[in-house]
């Protein structure tokens, strides 16, 4: 309900801006709605299309590649002008991408890349997971300004690429600071409740006073950890600095009340840069680079977090 | 027969201990080639334990087994099979939804290029079964044939796998007369082929008909081995019971006809039992007679609501009642001891005590548990009056022998103080002693004014306790015998008469 009214409202407000866009029809094959971020990506993509006056055909694959391939074939049959694809897995796309190429429909990958020859898609818009981790590490290094700091780390799901890359990036970020040391690192499965459970064990195993900062691979785990810190009688944000990644609304709410310190945005707006590139290509044939990296924007307590929260909370996170 | 002098299988000093009990105490058993050797004893005497020790299903605690002079010690039934000892149990141990051929060859299917060769399996099966006098389609599922045929297939499988010793554990328990004949002809053929056959049964007539020698067990010990040509039935019963059974069937007190209790009008179910009328009075025992498959069990189940009737009405003391499920029947103070004790009677893992109070508790409702003292009092009282033999009321009922299980089931219903008790084959698979006790109990209950309906395949038994006999054939009531008419001869005549009429 909330979603729908918001969409209608934004569509009405933004309608005049769409005059310049040609009557484009674009197919969007989304993975599903397994996380709040994914839901926000869907919302923002629809908004971006509305803004440009593009007719967006949306297909939810419910986590199944065969559904995505079916959706792509149906887009090709309908003769859409371009296809946005958020691939659920990396392999097995060659054949259907070949079909799109033969039909001369450009395919833009969102959020994830695929293992297929580069000439089969126009561009991939993704964030740089390693870079996100590095921004977090750099921030903490600046924040501590040389003071000693024992860090505990809440990892994502063991073996997942965000967990591996965000860990790697953070370690790069703090590698040149001998005052920063990770003392405990355990998986919180990217969930709020595991984040809380694991933080509880960190606090008991190390003693709350001996932990200076928390780095969480996503905001949800950080939100859970904040509760654990509070229940242990400590002040999150002051006694323990908290930096995490994603920039979901709830972490901004926590930052607004000083309970978290920094978050790095994984923007749900992957469609914006993709559509910009597409429009440029259609207008004058500018071939976009094969990889468009989204901005990993750092938010700290200096930003108006309450305002960001208000802005983000209805995106479907 | 030179082999006759040397035993095929000789067991000496076999002992087996269970926690708190000696199941077998230095038992000796010798089998010669080409003999049928009956193994007799009351339930709990140790017959099954002995067989399990020989086949390796149990590990024996002492004793030696020699097979054709070689000491053997099988540790599993599979191993004993490979050595040459095959076993066929009362409940056929085959897979009813596989075909006859698959059952016969299970685990050793003939293969062709690594794949099962079905055609070869079927021709082989047909050839083998012909030797047993069976001409059936090997490609049909086993379940489409009668228990007797299944039994023969099981025997064929055991003989094919083993071929020296064949143990038959109550093979005739669920067979009717003709089927027994079929089985006996197979046994005689195998005997001629030189197999040593162990035959366990409760039917003494059959023992004398087919066996050469008999070994009698009592309380885990051998009390004697007899050449049956030189022994009488009384001798054997004497050995088994250790006391002279006064008279297997006593003279019964004349029937007093009481008030009508249950009236069934046009009661039946399509495809199961044709509609019938039946009135049962207090203080009478109505016998249900008929051949296997004539509808005895179906009638009993219909009246108890196990399979609900789809036509007719039931009146209890003049009032119309519903009998849609057993719960309602129990509510009207009915009881049913089913034919298949194991699957529809006992709750195996519950204790004897819990099994005895189960129906009473079910009728009382979930939230009114029987007081512990009352439970103990009830259970102990019935164990005593029915002479149920057990180590403890806390032991799971499945460890009791068949006869004692049946008595515990009777206790379950008697504890509910029923007005009407249905007994389906109350003496099947039960030793001679318990048999007589149950017959006497039926008589006692009737004298106290209870109404009973008893279905049985044993005509003599029916004659002994029934005040009225209903004869069934092809799921239909064909005759009713009362008072002086009741005799085995008349029952057989009633069944036969109907057959003749049909032929004519």
């Amino acid at each position: 309900m909330k979603l729908k009214s918001l969409l209608i409202a934004s569509a009405m407000m933004l309608a005049p801006a769409s005059v310049m866009a040609a009557d484009l029809t674009i197919g969007f094959s989304q993975i599903g709605s397994e996380s709040g971020w994914r839901a926000a990506e869907t919302t923002v993509t629809k908004q971006e299309a509305e803004k440009r006056g593009i007719d967006l055909k949306f297909a939810d694959a419910q986590q199944k590649q065969e559904n995505q391939i079916k959706a792509l074939r149906s887009f090709i049959a309908q003769g859409v002008d371009a296809i946005l694809l958020a691939p659920v897995v990396a392999t097995g796309w060659d054949e259907v991408l070949e079909e799109a190429k033969e039909a001369e429909i450009p395919v833009m990958l969102l959020d994830r890349t695929v293992d297929a020859p580069e000439d089969l898609y126009m561009t991939a818009v993704t964030s740089d997971l390693v870079h996100e981790g590095k921004v977090a590490g750099d921030w903490l290094q600046d924040e501590m300004a040389g003071a000693d700091c024992s860090i505990v780390e809440l990892q994502g799901t063991t073996g997942s690429s965000p967990a591996i890359d965000r860990k790697k990036g953070f370690e790069e970020g703090i590698s040149d600071a001998s005052n920063l040391k990770i003392i405990r690192s355990q998986t919180g499965d990217f969930t709020r409740s595991q984040g809380k459970v694991v933080m509880e064990s960190f606090l008991k195993a190390e003693g709350g006073a001996n932990i200076c900062a928390l780095y969480a691979h996503n905001d949800d785990m950080a939100v859970g950890a904040i509760q654990a810190i509070k229940e242990a009688g400590l002040k999150p944000g002051e006694d323990i600095k908290i930096v995490s990644i994603d920039s979901v609304p709830d972490i901004h709410l926590a930052m607004a009340s000083g309970e978290a310190n920094a978050t790095i945005e994984l923007t749900p707006n992957m469609a914006g840069p993709a559509l910009d590139a597409l429009e440029a290509y259609l207008a004058d044939g500018t071939v976009p680079p094969k990889w468009i990296q989204t901005e990993s924007k750092l938010y700290t307590l200096k930003d108006d977090n309450q305002a960001i929260y208000e802005l983000k909370k209805d995106l479907g996170y | 027969m030179t082999e006759g002098t040397r035993p095929v299988l000789s067991c000496t000093g076999i002992s087996k201990f269970f926690p708190g009990a000696i199941a077998l105490d230095e038992v000796d058993l010798t089998l010669y080639s080409g003999e049928v050797h009956a193994l007799l004893g009351e339930n709990g005497a140790g017959k099954s334990t002995l067989i399990k020790c020989i086949t390796g299903a149990y590990r024996r605690d002492a004793g030696t087994i020699h097979l054709q002079g070689q000491a053997v010690s099988p540790t599993s039934t599979k191993e004993s099979q490979a050595l040459g000892i095959g076993t066929v149990y009362q409940e056929v141990n085959l897979l009813p939804n596989l075909t006859v051929a698959e059952n016969l060859f299970l685990g050793r299917q003939p293969t062709r290029f690594g794949l099962v060769s079905y055609s070869r399996m079927q021709t082989e099966t047909a050839r083998i079964l012909k030797d047993y006098g069976l001409a059936i389609n090997p490609a049909e599922p086993l379940s489409s044939y009668s228990v007797a045929v299944q039994q023969v297939v099981a025997i064929a499988r055991a003989v094919e796998l083993s071929g020296k010793v064949l143990i038959l554990d109550e093979p005739t328990a669920s067979l009717d007369r003709e089927e027994v004949e079929l089985l006996f002809s197979v046994i005689n053929k195998l005997k001629a082929r030189g197999l040593a056959i162990v035959f366990i049964t409760h039917f003494l007539d059959q023992v004398f008909e087919i066996s050469d020698r008999a070994t009698v067990l009592r309380n885990g010990r051998v009390v004697g081995t007899r050449e049956l040509a030189q022994a009488s039935q009384t001798d054997i019963i004497h050995l088994m019971l250790g006391r002279q059974l006064e008279s297997r069937i006593q003279e019964r007190a004349p029937a007093k006809s009481g008030k009508p209790l249950l009236e069934l009008n046009n009661f039946g179910r399509k495809g199961t039992v044709d509609p019938f009328n039946l009135t049962i009075h207090e203080g009478e025992v109505v016998g249900l007679a008929g051949l296997l498959g004539s509808g005895r069990t179906e009638t009993a189940n219909l009246i108890f609501g196990v399979v609900p009737a789809d036509q007719g009405e039931a009146k209890l003391r003049g009032k119309t009642i519903s009998l849609a499920n057993p719960r309602q029947a129990v509510g009207h103070r009915f009881g049913l001891c089913p034919e298949d004790r194991k699957t529809e009677g006992i709750v195996g893992d519950l204790s004897v005590r819990e099994n005895i109070i189960l129906a009473l508790q079910a009728r009382q409702g979930w939230f009114r548990p029987l007081a512990r003292a009352k439970v103990n009092e009830l259970a102990e009282a019935y164990v005593k009056t029915l002479d149920i033999r057990l180590a403890s009321l806390d032991m799971p009922i499945r460890f009791l022998s068949g006869g004692n299980q049946q008595k515990a089931l009777l206790a379950r219903w008697l504890a509910t103080n029923p007005d009407f008790l249905i007994l389906d084959e109350p003496t099947r698979g039960i030793d001679v002693g318990a048999h007589a006790e149950i017959i006497a109990l039926i008589e006692r209950l009737r004298e106290k004014g209870m109404a009973l309906l008893v279905a049985s395949s044993e005509l003599e038994e029916l004659v002994a306790y029934s005040t009225r006999v209903i004869v069934l054939k092809d799921r239909r009531q064909v005759d009713e015998l009362t008072g002086g008419q009741i005799s085995t001869g008349n029952i057989v005549k009633a069944i036969a008469a109907e057959t003749n009429r049909e032929v004519a």
């Binding site: 063991t158 499965d189 969930t191 949800d220 | 699957t343 009677g345 709750v347 939230f367 548990p369």
Partner: protein, 351 residues
């Protein structure tokens, strides 16, 4: 009564020993494990965490034990948790009080239980298939309620159920111990326990004995749904938000494992809720060892698997039998001279 207590103790002895061993393992990797402090108005310590974090599995295994006793299984409990949590969160976010939210969540849980029970008892669908339906669909239903987001709430009353304390003891601990005690007494002080066991062992026999097996079957699934709903509310309250994607994820497997570690047969029949609850504590203690050990998370599942395998192997009938033989032979050796002295004279007199 004394007799009953001794019987219970004998039944749960293996589980208690295993729990003691795993707790000792915790102590070895973290010497302060047993230290409990009173700080910030609540009991604070690793042992408290084991009891607190074990709450969802403990709650689930109460219902699961009864379902398994009837030869069934309830795979849907994890999804039901998600639905119940989402329902409670949605109600408080819409402005209702925590009481209404709790009642709403429980009603939804009971409805799920009823659905499972009807499929199993009346339509005679195999429990594993019947409950699979809700396991798969349930999470989708929960996502519909939360619209795919983590539905955050600030209702103090509801939060108290998951993160609050009563007299310093975390509320979830009181809830699972309380509910466990109520259900255990409920089935053992009435005839329910025995009747549930009877239908689990032999439903046909039970039916002939006049037991209303269908209604009883539906009832155990209702209890399971009820327990799952409470667990779902606690999990949501703990993080002040209903996470439809992750709440109770795979927890049905932990609940089944707890029941198995509790020595209950998956083939139905005899059951002990107390033993299952200890099973749940054992699982949580294993999780605690992993967290306190400080090993990299790549080892988590390996460690858990090794400990669980060890527990199950110790409980296997074969090993139990071997232990029994060992003990019996040790005893008989000790008895040998005495027995010989006893046995010889009667033998002579017999001859």
């Amino acid at each position: 009564m004394v007799h009953g207590f001794q019987a219970t103790l004998r039944r749960i002895a293996p589980q208690l020993i295993i729990l003691a061993v795993v707790l000792l393992l915790n102590f070895l990797v973290f010497p302060d494990f047993f230290k409990i402090e009173f700080q910030n108005d609540r009991l604070f310590g690793n042992l408290v965490d084991v009891f607190n974090r074990g709450a969802p599995t403990a709650l689930l295994c109460i219902g699961m034990t009864l379902v398994i006793a009837t030869k069934g299984i309830d795979l849907s409990v994890g999804a039901v948790m998600a639905i119940a949590g989402a329902t409670a969160a949605d109600l408080v976010v819409s402005g209702y009080g925590w009481g209404t939210a709790l009642i709403g969540a429980i009603s939804v849980g009971l409805m799920c239980g009823l659905w499972n029970g009807v499929l199993v008892a009346f339509l005679r669908i195999q429990p594993i298939v019947a409950t699979l339906v809700l396991m798969v669909a349930g999470r989708g239903i929960a996502q519909l309620i939360t619209e795919g987001t983590i539905l955050t709430f600030l209702n103090e009353g509801l939060i108290h159920l998951g993160a609050g304390t009563v007299l310093g003891i975390p509320t979830p601990i009181l809830i699972w111990i309380g509910l466990g005690a109520i259900v255990t007494l409920g089935v053992r002080r009435t005839a329910l326990g025995m009747l549930v066991e009877a239908i689990g062992i032999n439903e046909a026999s039970s039916r002939v004995a006049g037991i209303n097996s269908r209604v009883l079957l539906v009832s155990v699934y209702l209890v399971s749904g009820f327990c799952a709903a409470i667990a779902g509310v606690i999990v949501a309250a703990d993080i002040k938000g209903a996470d439809a994607n992750n709440a109770g994820l795979w927890l049905e497997l932990d609940a089944i494992l707890a029941v198995v570690i509790g020595g209950n047969s998956l083939l139905g029949g005899r059951f002990s809720i107390t033993a299952s609850l200890i099973g749940a504590l054992i699982i949580q203690s294993v999780n605690s060892v992993i967290l306190l050990s400080g090993l990299p998370p790549e080892f988590n599942l390996v460690i858990k698997a090794l400990i669980i395998i060890a527990i199950l192997v110790i409980q296997s009938p074969t090993v139990k039998h071997a232990l029994y033989i060992l003990r019996a032979s040790a005893e008989s050796e000790a008895l040998e001279p005495a027995r010989a002295a006893q046995l010889t004279p009667p033998k002579e007199t017999a001859q």
